[in-house]
Assembly symmetry: C2
Homo-oligomer: 191 residues x 2
């Protein structure tokens, strides 16, 4: 049950749970492994759950008609990922979530999340804080998308998430920043 202590440490960064409280909520998470290139969520699938990453790396993305890819989110160890607009309405969405490495995740459905918050009200604070932190990070990203040059966006990402650069291709970073692969190559060679 190594993964249990991993999850407990993650929650403990925001709220302190007693052994009893943690043991109450643990059964609501489902352990899943998926291989590199496999999908956690396919386009058009009904989305009931979000996923906490224990090991590995995933991307949430959308493709247009020409096959051009737009990456909304990466997720590594300790991050959460889903097609959140679809999860919010517990309906179908436009995003896919795909493993970029062999992954181990904990799945939590919205139904189970609500049960957890009913059983252990402190978990409401945990999920609220995670949502608020995500909101603030996205406000910064919106500003960066509007305001920064390709070069500034690249530097900012490198500064915020140095570990990501070791694990994903330049093409994917370009798809996350909304710049062309050629622009990104030029920038990374200048360094």
């Amino acid at each position: 049950m190594e993964y249990a202590s991993f999850l407990r440490k993650h929650i403990g960064e925001i709220v302190a749970l007693s052994d009893e409280e943690f043991n109450l909520i643990l059964p609501f998470f489902s352990y899943r492994t998926i291989n590199k290139k496999e999908y956690l969520i396919r386009e058009g699938q009904t989305v009931h759950s979000e996923f906490f990453v224990l090991k590995g790396l995933l991307k949430a993305f959308m493709s247009d008609e020409s096959g051009k890819e737009f990456i909304v989110q990466f997720a590594m160890e300790n991050w959460w990922i889903s097609d959140y607009p679809a999860y919010k309405i517990q309906g179908k969405g436009d995003l896919c979530v795909q493993a970029l490495e062999d992954c181990v995740v904990l799945e939590l459905s919205l139904e189970n999340k609500n049960r957890i918050c009913g059983l252990v009200p402190k978990m409401q604070q945990f999920h609220g804080t995670k949502a608020f932190n995500g909101f603030v990070a996205l406000q910064k990203r919106v500003l960066s998308l509007m305001r920064n040059s390709a070069s500034e966006k690249y530097e900012l990402l490198l500064e915020q998430y140095p570990a990501l650069f070791q694990r994903v291709s330049k093409t994917m970073i370009a798809h996350y920043l909304g710049v062309s692969r050629e622009t990104l190559s030029r920038l990374s060679h200048q360094r």
Copy 2:
């Protein structure tokens, strides 16, 4: 106390409060009026609070060295606004919040928000849900900024927030969409 019933209705869309619970939390909100063009938050100011709009319209924005403006957020009646990255760290930020009409707002400091959640734990769910909804809306905006043409961004905003178009200038809509004023003029004349 008309504003009290306005706030209560807003909270009631997410959680139901008893009279007693609502009366417990109400004193933590401060009533403030500000005139058109005045600032709620100036650049570089320490940010302790967020603001719930009872009446009027505001924008949260940043300017670069050349005076070019980037609008992160508008807020009308029933919306919340702040310099959220600064509010999160209870420190200094880069955004300004300015009134675009004469406004009436309720100010809630982070300290008071935490007190409210301690007194009435259901309010944790209210604030968590608001944060999560904001997170999802921003994920959609990030996708739109990366993916859509100026014309698609414009149509999407018009569809989502028709009321906004009656109340803000074309220039400001351009600053929100991250497109030039000229592009926007062309689009709005085509309609």
